[in-house]
Symmetry: D3
Subunit: 319 residues, 6 copies
């Protein structure tokens, strides 16, 4: 049974991935384990009350376990737990991930890069995203966030590619935009996240660097250094590109040290924002119980989200 | 000579349109006339110090006058002024307007409407934009704003069409969006401006209705009434569409009584915002003296705007 | 025993109304029921730990149950529960409600309406509040809010009447106020709440309409439509009245699409505010344990409230 | 001719009061005088360009001068000026002031004080407002503000009396309010303004004390000292009253060191606010040219004010 | 074992001070005791589940108890508890307190006062801090806060002394500062806290006076009264000093009714702020588990705090 | 005569430095020159109305001119102007500058650097501030701002030195501060200003880099690059130092992409703030006319500043 199909009262007996583990006090003394278990279709809270020392050794974040228990009121009460054997599951059914295939995304990325005309930007993109380069290996795998949107492997690629595609598509609709700069800026805007996040056993956390320097300064440094190592890169072009990275949060209070002063920086900032906001709708809808139309208040949306007709329900019916 | 070609020290003798007239005090007593004159390429401040009573009769907003004088430091000091005769000018060279031809825009609009599949929305769009309907006549001509972007005849059509085209183009990039609702919402989002603005002799001002009710409530009422007169319009569809109109300013503090709770409302709001912001770059660049790269602080952009290479200069060279 | 008289350690055995029911997890697995029980004098949290499946069928919101248990630390631990029989209680002792008798409020309302001189406003008030009209039937019964003040049957009538009476009383103190417009605006300002809230079995919730359109747009539409159906209603009068409805939240960030620009709109907004704030004092005092002077921080007041001498204690002593 | 009757193009020759004088540079060198002249019905900007040294000696703030000149575009260009002789004018026609007669206000104040029952508050009010006491003499004459509302002699009395009357009237409408405390608090809430403002020759300015200590701390100190000198004043009563003074600005960001935590403090704060806001409408309407319905944006109102029918026009027609 | 040395899994059997006691519900019915126990090195949460009625009598805030139990996940699960006998502990090991010895602080204070030259300020300081005066007795013992920094006996002295020392040290670095005024203002700035807080059995709470008047008004009144009783105190000096007290929160929204307008007030405000912020680092570091570098988000710091090398670890190693 | 001694009505005939030149329109047509002239003691507005073409060639920013004219109402009306000859003036009397001698500041800087113990930081400081290095040459001369504080040659050195001295002095007062990191951070915090400002002929403006990247990112890049070129610089130390630079504005809305998370970053931020605020007092006092105690509202102070006794007056008397 897929996690998103769990319904009140159903009995569960299957392999699931451990995303998070917490040892909690009972308020009145004693302890229990609080887990987040998941497959590709979603996550579920779970508790273990008995033999927690033994369970604790099994339920390490990033591991696959086999559990039996009862699901009710959005929580799984675990009756038995053991390590899963690899023949019991396919890891691809358990890991969350992008809606698109990673090979497809890479192909789309290379196609998009192929539309960039400016030779200097092409050189820079080759340095950053060239097949076999170390940066590309990191970029291809990194998550885009800790919580909000695309908080999974390949999430950064998915996010930046989507923003860059939308930026590319819309560049012609409005006058005066340098499409090459805008698309390159969109592909590179979040590159500081390579250093700002750490991924350990499927768990995503901010690095010390991420917290003390911030992803914007980290991305600025990396791209400015890469440009300095390219002979004859035009200073004006460098300036325009770095301005996109520095200003892409859109305002000081959102952490950009400068605000967007150019059309290209404005475009990347606003499409990045749009992508994040619509990504929050995706995340919220995924977690919404079947039959409900309103989510609870979501910080990423700034409201409860409303889904008139549920796309997942249509899908299920079709299935 | 086109207004945007005026340079320090040049002598001017030509017909220009009067956009605005103000009788001002000299600080130390006496009066002078402060004008805004314009042709299609831009506007210029001008002053008349002598025989102002006679000049005042000639320089009515909306009229075309013939002036001689000297341009310096962004101001035209008028030496003589008279009414222009119609053989001296072509009105199309003098009126500001959209970048696109109105017939072309109408054709684009009808093409876009043709892509809407939902029969109820098609019926509604026919009521609002059908050729020969009174609403269409108003909508085709109305300005989009008093000051900021597209503050000229056909401006509303230009703005809504651009937003709707961009919304249509981007709908496929992100999952879960009902394109028909989003495009229809984009076309109708600003329809309250028909009542909110008054155009008199080329001057645009807010109506009492616009100030006391606001364009959002006016648009909501108009569309909800139109829907009520259509038999069998699905209530859910009405709700979704009206929510776009009500929430398109994006937040309470920007005047929407509700915030966007659906993907479609989020999309229309954010592309509307993007269109307005990029439109401010267009407006600012138009007024920027040749050779300058930075504008003064602009409220619509939230910063001074920077233009690395000036598109107008490229154009001129090409010409 | 009345709920507000419950004291630490007392044994409870009596009928109470179920206001709210929630099935909760124990943190360490298993479930229990969390209830809000109430009589007219207040509400109390309660828990059921045993036989929760049976209890769950009995404890439906809106039903009256008979419980035994022990009250301590502001919570009732239920030992036994069954459906109450109607001979055991009088429903009027159990339902929360306005401080004033509904017949008295209706009489007061009709008296206040009788003081309005303007014939057009009198016609409008007859349409909205005429005895036997469907709107009046709804208006008379509707609650004024989900949580904050007057969140009970007849609450809307109580709130609007109070605001309108205060507005009427104070109109003469300040110069330049059109009392008829102000009083009519006060009576109608919240009429959008008829569609914005849904009442089901004593539970109040926001409707989809309320969330997607907002009470202000709903009220604006209803009153503007009603006016359009009245022959010869002066447009200026309509504009002034509708402006009160649209602006009564006082500022954009509180959800009004326009801010009050007239004396009458300013007056209704500020007395509405005052009424809400003082209503929060009433609500907070009702729930304050005997002997305490300070409430916890209350969002409606923006502070903890202080009650130097407690009116309820005086009452009890008098009783 | 009254100042509010000045119309474009009219010739002026009459006595007027000098409210303000400023020596200004012409931008291109040289000087001129900028005056604010006034009678009881309003103020008018005026300029003197010739013989300014002589004019400067005549046009001292607080003095009455006789001017001839021409009024146009809201400014009076003065052709000749001399000191007025006292037989030429009645000072009461020239000084701005409250809408009500000061003797009437004093009588209303004493009547209102007479309704206060609490003997301790009566003693305190006798100390502060007793006929012949030095505080009363100051209070009776002081202005309520420098610019906004009631910025004239007797303005403080007018403002506090109005607020206290409204508070008294409305105390019965809402439950749980101690009318004696609320009315006394309303009468005393602004008493710190006695030290915070200085009046010199008709010009109102803030004192050093007012700027360095603030009117709230000054009022708190004065009333707390007065209470300490009264034997047997109940500490709870003192606390409640002083809380009203300290919190009457309603929030920290408006300069109250504490926010209103009691019903009485909430009531005084909000009616004080209402009085100020409606007072701004009065001030704005007074200065609005005949025939106009919209004022410019007014900081005290937070919007442009709209006057559908102008009360002054009705008055004039009646005259 | 010291509290800060408690580590996961260790068994505890020792005397500890009760700082706080709360009787809590188990969510599913029944009660347990939630305690905060402490020694001088820190505090620890603890729970009692059995025989809570008996335990409740023993565990009164301010008392010393002897407990046995097991520490895990930052909580102590108590197995047995009894009153401690005085021979079992030294109270100085259990009470939290300043980092410096109180006698040393008093000596430092007197030394600092000795550097003040102005005779009037010396007289005032003698009244407030003279040995044997009642104010000094209170000041010496009072805490500086309820929660944030220096929330313990002698905390006010510690805080004010530190601020005054830093102010004194830095006065020479910047031009134009009157050191005597600045140092005296620093010593007196928080004196309103004497009335704003109540200490009962080791528990610190705000008094009614503190909540209804605020510490700033209380301090202002006390110092202004003290000055009035000194003959010949220069009014300008009084004004400058009282301005420091009134403005030391730095802005209206932080509760100062006036903002700092003088160099001395600016200096005291900003060093007070710095002291509070750095004090929050101290508090946060004290509670941070060994081996961790990041604290959770702290409201006093406005971020999570980062400790690269932990000073306590260095200390321990050195010990 | 020194500029700060200019008094109403005095005749001026002397050399002055041109700080700023603007060609302005007379409102009613024609042009005049608006100048800012200065000597070391302050600046003065001045106008030229006649022969402006000739005057314009003489009055270039950065040049010294000889003027005659009349000073009145804070403006100098120029009657004649010519280039000054070098024998007429000493440039040191005309240039604004720090209160301290630059050689003395350099000596103080080297002394302060000498107190830094950490060898890695010493190496870094040698690279940045070593005598004869190109960075030092720039740093020594750069201004600290365009307008607010220390907007003159050597201003950056003066500002950073003062902050670093104060940081050094206060490091011992509070526990847990690494003085070496704090002092080095204070010296380097504003180093991005080297690229963010351009100085041309005495006029200070922001560079394109300054506007598009911001001084914080520029400083971060420069220091991080410098560190990368030093062998064996400890990563933790680099991180701590760079965090100070990135966070020294103290909050996102003031342009820091991260907020201070360490004691050292908190200290540098707050002393930087204090230095800026007190520097605004210096600037305001300098421009305050003799005999006045209150400045107008100053954005850097957030209030009007009050100067009880004027230090300049004392100085003059002493002179």
């Amino acid at each position: 049974m897929k996690v998103r199909e769990f319904a009140d009262g159903c009995e569960v007996a299957q392999p699931l991935l451990v995303r998070d583990l917490d040892v909690r006090h009972r308020r009145e003394g004693g302890e229990y384990l609080k887990l987040v278990l998941a497959d590709r279709t979603g996550g579920v809270a779970a508790v273990v009350s008995d033999e927690i020392d033994r369970a604790r050794e099994v339920c390490r974040p990033g591991e696959v376990i086999h559990v039996t228990g009862r699901y009710s009121r959005r929580q799984l009460t675990i009756e038995s737990v053991r390590a899963a054997v690899s023949s019991e599951y396919s890891i691809d059914d358990l890991l969350d991930g992008p809606g698109r295939d990673v090979e497809q995304m890479e192909a789309d990325l290379r196609a998009l890069i192929g539309t960039v005309q400016n030779p200097h930007l092409r050189r820079l993109l080759a340095v950053m995203f060239g097949e076999g380069t170390p940066i590309w290996a990191l970029y291809r795998d990194a998550p885009a966030a800790k919580h909000y949107h695309q908080a999974y492997r390949h999430g950064l690629l998915e996010h930046c590619l989507t923003v860059a595609q939308a930026v590319g598509a819309i560049s012609a609709t409005f006058p005066g935009i340098d499409r090459d700069i805008a698309v390159t800026g969109a592909l590179l805007h979040d590159i500081g996240k390579l250093e700002a996040y750490e991924v350990q056993g499927g768990a995503i956390s901010m690095s010390d660097h991420g917290r003390l320097h911030g992803e914007i300064a980290l991305g600025y440094f990396r791209v400015r250094r890469a440009i300095e190592l390219l002979d004859g890169f035009p200073p004006d072009l460098a300036q325009a590109l770095l301005h996109i990275i520095l200003s892409h949060h859109g305002s000081l209070e959102h952490g950009s040290p400068v605000v967007p002063c150019t059309r290209e920086a404005t475009l990347v900032h606003m499409i990045d924002n749009l992508g994040g906001r619509l990504g929050s709708f995706d995340r919220v809808e995924k977690e919404l119980p079947a039959g409900e139309h309103w989510s609870v208040y979501d910080k990423g949306i700034g409201a409860g989200a409303y889904f008139a007709s549920r796309s997942d329900e249509a899908e299920r019916e079709a299935a």
